[in-house]
Subunit: 148 residues, 2 copies
DNA sequence: ATATAAAAAGACCTAAATATCTTTTAATAT
DNA sequence: ATATTAAAAGATATTTAGGTCTTTTTATAT
């Protein structure tokens, strides 16, 4: 449903939110290692988040990624929008072009419940909400003795 | 969520269920044209459904695809299983290896509602259910003046 | 100013999903 | 038996997602 890029983005941003501050930035290498994600690929993804002002970064010594006040309040949906686009939340589950409430495909009424439920979750929760969850003990860092 | 292959499979099988009988089989060409799907690609997908006894076919003149009593009662989940596999319904929405009710990722509790709801739909509805929906007027054939 | 450290950018590679084209096999009608 | 028709099977091409490697830019500390 969410692409790998998108999931990587979410996990990385939560890691940064959880571990960084204005004067302690997190390097891409650390993020990749801790989350067991491909560093260079992740780097591209974070670049794009930075461009969209969802994440902050600075270059040079002691540089790295961090997150500011404003970014913490960004909704997960915004990240999905930037990385994957929002078509998932609009398009027909059976791939029909002309599927809608008035002209529904045979699965429309069933699908729509879940599509909209998910939408609401993503449209409501913020990065900070996830960071808080992690601070309250939710799983987050990949178990070290397993691999994708 | 469902791959194109899977969605093609569902639509094709409903088309066949709706239009075929023991003595009127439907050719792959007709299916492809009516549903506006790539014929040869669809052909592969249907081949696999036939192999798994989800769909019936015969070769030769007046051959084609059809659906028998038993197949009509097959659950949508079975088609998904054959085409895409069922990993979607088990794996973590944030791609964590070790995500579970007792060791949940920060989105686990939200995701699981949606995943299980969808699962129940697919595990309950049969091909015949969709065919009936279509016969009751649900959208199904692609609008002819739109293209993917 | 210079060296250094770290992200940004660019070029490239790989694998999987999707799609097309060709040949073979198997029913059926003649 | 033979011709014909349609699916099955095989080979190949294209596109997209995912991933790696190298070079450039920029901030910082010395």
């Amino acid at each position: 449903m969410l692409s790998k890029s998108c999931v990587y983005a979410l996990r990385a941003i939560v890691y940064v939110g959880h571990n960084s501050s204005e004067n302690h930035k997190i390097g891409i290498k650390e993020i990749g290692e801790e989350l067991d994600l491909p560093v260079h690929f992740l780097s591209k993804i974070l670049q794009s988040l930075v461009k969209h002002n969802i994440l902050q970064s600075t270059k040079g010594p002691h540089g790295g990624f961090y997150i500011n006040e404003v970014s913490g309040k960004i909704k997960l949906l915004r990240i999905i929008e930037v990385v994957d686009g929002l078509s998932f939340f609009h398009k027909c589950g059976l791939g029909m072009h002309e599927c809608s409430d008035t002209h529904p495909c045979p699965l429309h009424d069933d699908f729509i419940v879940f599509r909209e439920g998910l939408y609401k979750i993503f449209a409501t929760k913020t990065i900070n909400d996830l960071v808080k969850k992690v601070e309250d003990g939710n799983a987050f860092i990949q178990n070290l003795n397993t691999k994708n």
